[in-house]
């Protein structure tokens, strides 16, 4: 207990008396975390953009106007049974007619033709959304069976299949690129932290050997550096937390315009706070502790 108390005391004493070196170490950790968090933000943007593109894709099934409710419900429950399907929006004949009229409100010829008909010529419509664009084909294939041939008049997917395929390829590539870039930045951050700690330990190599010559055990020498690593990691996480808070307050009004979501970044960080803080604190702590222990090894051989 006494030894632990002394280790903590020496750690804080070292930090206070090497304030320049301590600040520099924290600054580099903050810069590294900033670059990592920039990538997290880019990932959030990418995912949100991909999601909003995917949301805009759907398949419309136009039913024959003579199709009965039983037949439509059967198709609905059949399609709804697919795990890939996330949403089914059903519009009855009246709703389809109202929507059509709204779309054609500037086209009096079409509206008067409708009036002349005297009855609603449009059948009900079902809008199907799936998890991934590639799943639409599966749904369409499943509907290409003889028993539904007379009920479903048309499917829009055929016309947009190429576009959907293209979007799928682009979104997959964008996500892969973001992951690749994140890994590259993580590697750069790892190397910079490793070398920062190595330099910090190198500047104290003589002190380390003196402590050993005076009779300190290896852990008595290592201890303060481990405590300092913990302190630097917590300090850098707190600083980065503050910086991100300010950045999100400034950025979120703009992201709200683009993605139609208020507090997108702030909410993302708030919802994933334990994971984000845990991973970042854990990684920085692990890196700083391991690099100081490794860097110190040669100077402890006295």
């Amino acid at each position: 207990m006494l030894t632990l108390f002394r280790i903590i005391k020496f750690a804080f004493q070292d930090m206070a008396r090497n304030v320049g070196l301590s600040s520099m170490t924290v600054l580099i950790l903050v810069l590294m975390l900033l670059s990592i968090n920039t990538l997290v933000v880019i990932n959030v943007f990418t995912n949100e953009a991909v999601k909003s593109i995917k949301d805009q894709i759907d398949v419309s099934l136009y039913f024959n106007y003579e199709a009965t409710n039983e037949e439509i419900n059967e198709v609905k429950s059949y399609v709804g049974g697919f795990p890939e399907v996330t949403e089914i929006i059903y519009l009855n004949r009246d709703e389809v007619l109202a929507k059509f009229k709204e779309q054609q409100k500037n086209n009096p010829e079409v509206l008067s033709a409708l009036d002349e008909l005297g009855e609603n010529p449009l059948g009900p419509t079902m809008i199907v959304k799936t998890r991934e664009p590639k799943d639409y084909e599966k749904v369409i294939q499943a509907l290409n069976v003889p028993e539904y041939e007379n009920i479903i008049e048309a499917k829009t997917f055929g016309d947009t299949q190429k576009a959907i395929d293209r979007i799928h390829i682009i979104t997959t590539q964008v996500q892969r690129f973001a992951i690749g870039l994140s890994l590259l930045f993580a590697l750069i951050a790892f190397l910079i932290i490793l070398n920062t700690i190595r330099v910090a330990i190198y500047t104290q190599r003589i002190e380390i050997s003196i402590k050993k010559l005076v009779g300190a055990s290896n852990w008595f020498v290592r201890g303060p550096y481990v405590v300092e690593s913990l302190f630097f990691s917590i300090a850098s996480i707190l600083i980065i937390g503050g910086l991100l808070w300010i950045a999100f307050r400034l950025l979120d009004p703009y992201t709200a315009i683009v993605f139609q979501k208020s507090n997108l970044l702030f909410d993302y960080y708030l919802n994933n706070r334990y994971l984000l803080i845990g991973i970042q604190l854990g990684s920085v702590l692990f890196l700083t502790v391991v690099s100081s222990l490794l860097a110190m090894r040669r100077y402890l051989r006295v």
Binding site: L2, T3, N18, E207, I210, K212, L213, V214, G215, S217
Partner: protein, 194 residues
């Protein structure tokens, strides 16, 4: 212990404090065979031997008092005992007024006195002084030798490694002469003969 440069005097000191390990032969310190000492026992050995280095080896970011106290703190000595012992030892070496100074704020002679205080603080049975006056002028040399003589009179064995002829001749103590790593003379009340 006297001998020309490169003859193995500092190597001997390093062997005694287990900074180096012998390739052959045996080393015994106070009845403890340290020839094959385990790495984890080295700190315990060093806490029983006081070592004074030519280049002082003081911790630059610690004050005089903290440097001396550090030798006790590594050994887990309670705080109350440290507060009692450190001022006394600093009194012996005449540095009571410099307790809060950092090594760079005091002279070479004073720094060496801090080193002596640090090596004495855990009451070692043997004090190894490797060229303790090598970086000092004649006045400071005189002072350091006087302190070492006083410590010796209190019953601590001192191994003084030096090539300062004047110091050796004036001390009139046992002189072991080393040449090419071998003892070539061992006189009970010897003189510097190289």
């Amino acid at each position: 212990m006297v001998g020309q440069s490169g003859t193995g005097k500092t190597t001997l000191v390093k062997l005694i404090i287990a900074e180096e390990k012998p390739t052959e032969g045996n080393i015994e310190v106070g009845g403890w065979d340290i020839t094959k000492i385990h790495q984890r026992d080295v700190p315990f050995l060093r806490r029983q031997i006081g070592v004074i280095f030519q280049d002082f080896k003081l911790l630059p970011k610690k004050t005089v008092q903290e440097n001396v106290a550090f030798a006790l703190e590594v050994a887990g000595v309670p705080h109350s005992r440290i507060r009692e012992v450190v001022p006394k030892v600093l009194d012996i070496v005449g540095l009571r007024k410099k307790v809060d100074s950092y090594p760079h704020q005091i002279s070479g002679g004073e720094q060496q006195r801090v080193v002596i205080a640090r090596s004495l603080v855990h009451r070692p049975k043997i004090l190894v002084a490797d060229e303790p006056t090598g970086n000092l002028d004649s006045i400071n040399t005189e002072e350091i030798i006087e302190i070492l003589k006083r410590i010796n009179e209190f019953g601590t064995t001192i191994l003084l490694v030096t090539h300062n002829r004047e110091v050796v001749n004036r001390l009139r103590k046992r002189v072991v002469t080393l040449h090419n790593g071998k003892i070539i003379a061992d006189e009970k009340e010897g003189k510097y003969r190289l």
